[in-house]
Amino acid sequence: MKNMKTLLTLIVMWWISGAVYAQHGDHHHHDHTAMQASEQIPEQSLYHLRGEWTSHRGEQFLLSEFSGSPLVIVMFYGNCTDVCPILIQDAWRLYSSVGENMREEVNVLAVTFDTENDTPESLMEYARYEQLNIDGWHFVTASPATVRQLATALGVEYRKRSDGMYDHSNLVTVVGPDGVVGARVEGLGRPMEVAARVLEEFITEKQLP
């Protein structure tokens, strides 16, 4: 009986993985390069993380699909109305402090802690409210384990309280094209100059022929 169940799970998983792949194939032409490169990516690269993410636009992807471009990661949640808007604003300050022609090379990942309430639809609402439903910005959710693993890799601590809100650390992280963390800005409303310089270096690196 147990074996039958497992078989069934396997079949279902197979179909799902097939469907996800098919969905992806059309949009993400760099998939294969990312996969092939995975053997040589640095030991400390975040692109070793395997979980699957869903964005506020409903797109599904792996973190490693961002490899090759610099990435800014900030963790927040929608029901957090006091500090989280500041945190998102901090990420925007960093993003907008690099030249406009450079910004298109950068992806920003705003990752929710609250996988229960922050559905792709409500994340879309949030993105629109913050006027950040723009190219390169992705408000994303995943399974609780996937979110926790990314947070742990970044050094972001969080804990759900009895009242449904979260205690969490405030962190904006700059990640290089190879997935290795280049700069961390801890706290709220902190200066972004150093992180911005790191981000610019990553972009220049990428733009070199």
Partner: protein, 276 residues
């Protein structure tokens, strides 16, 4: 093209299933530990964040015993990226599974004790193991709630256990681990080996408050909820856990998994010791 694609998917699906049966991947599910239902409840956290209010814990399933070497071997067989030769430094320090001879060989000494708890596994490895078995790591609140729910007869028994644990936390011998399940101090809900076998990973081993806490005696005293030795043992356990990094892979540190669930829906296929 679409049709071919579909055909390919179906045939590969059959192939994968056949391989799964052939190599016994499917059986790995049946080798998992028994799960015990931990009912809704509350307990007093050590942290000032709850300000004297008991912390609520929702019902969940918890492995009766910690994950063993042989169970972890099955996991790395099915998930080769967790073999010690392959695991990137992001996920584990170089002590990861050091006592195993190679990625797929726990080694004679360990194998002869295949029911020993697996140790030298990082937080990432533990978290991924639990995810692969359809669960997750227990939260610190869940683990502590399950662990302190003991039915001891007298104040003296609590004191004795407290002193035992304080001694154990300060002189744990990684070379001499007993088999899982050998602890006869079973918690109220039927969980074993919570005290005195191995330290265990929890999902949020570094809660947000960790940054504000220093690991000294003053802090230990401040966190202590009462004057008992059992309370002091809890503080030591909590501070020790908070001093780990997610890559920490040491000989006294293992884990067990938790599972979301609704007891009414889960039916009787899961062992429930709490009704004994």
């Amino acid at each position: 093209m679409m049709l071919l694609n579909k055909l390919h998917r179906v045939t590969t699906g059959i192939l994968v299933m056949a391989l799964a049966l052939l190599f016994g991947w499917v059986d790995s599910v049946s080798a998992q530990a028994e799960r015990v239902w931990i009912p809704d409840g509350s307990y007093h956290s050590l942290f000032p964040e709850t300000e004297g209010e008991p912390l609520q814990v929702h019902g969940f399933y918890l492995d009766e015993t910690p994950v063993t070497n042989s169970q972890f071997l099955e996991f790395v067989q099915n998930h080769p990226e967790w073999q010690k030769e392959r695991v990137p430094r992001l996920f584990a320090g170089n002590e990861y599974l050091r006592h195993w001879e190679s990625g797929l060989e726990p080694g004679n000494e360990t194998l002869s004790e295949e029911n020993r708890p697996v140790t030298r596994v990082s937080w990432f490895a533990a978290s991924s193991y639990c995810e692969a078995s359809g669960g997750r790591l227990p939260t610190m609140a869940e683990w502590e709630y399950a662990a302190i729910s003991l039915d001891l007869e007298s104040v003296q028994e609590w004191e004795t256990l407290g002193y035992e644990l304080i001694g154990w936390y300060s002189s744990v011998d990684a070379g001499d681990l007993r088999e899982v399940g050998s602890d006869d101090r079973i918690s109220r809900f039927g969980v074993r080996d919570l005290h005195g076998l191995v330290m265990e990973w929890v999902e949020d081993f570094r809660p947000p408050i960790a940054d504000d806490i220093s690991f000294d005696c003053g802090t230990a005293g401040r966190l202590q909820s009462d004057e008992t030795s059992f309370s002091y043992a809890r503080v030591i356990r909590t501070l020790t856990r908070m001093s780990y990094t997610p890559q920490t892979s040491i000989g006294i540190l293992g884990f067990r998994c938790a599972y979301d669930g609704d007891r009414a829906k889960a039916g009787d296929q899961l062992k429930d010791l709490s009704e004994r």
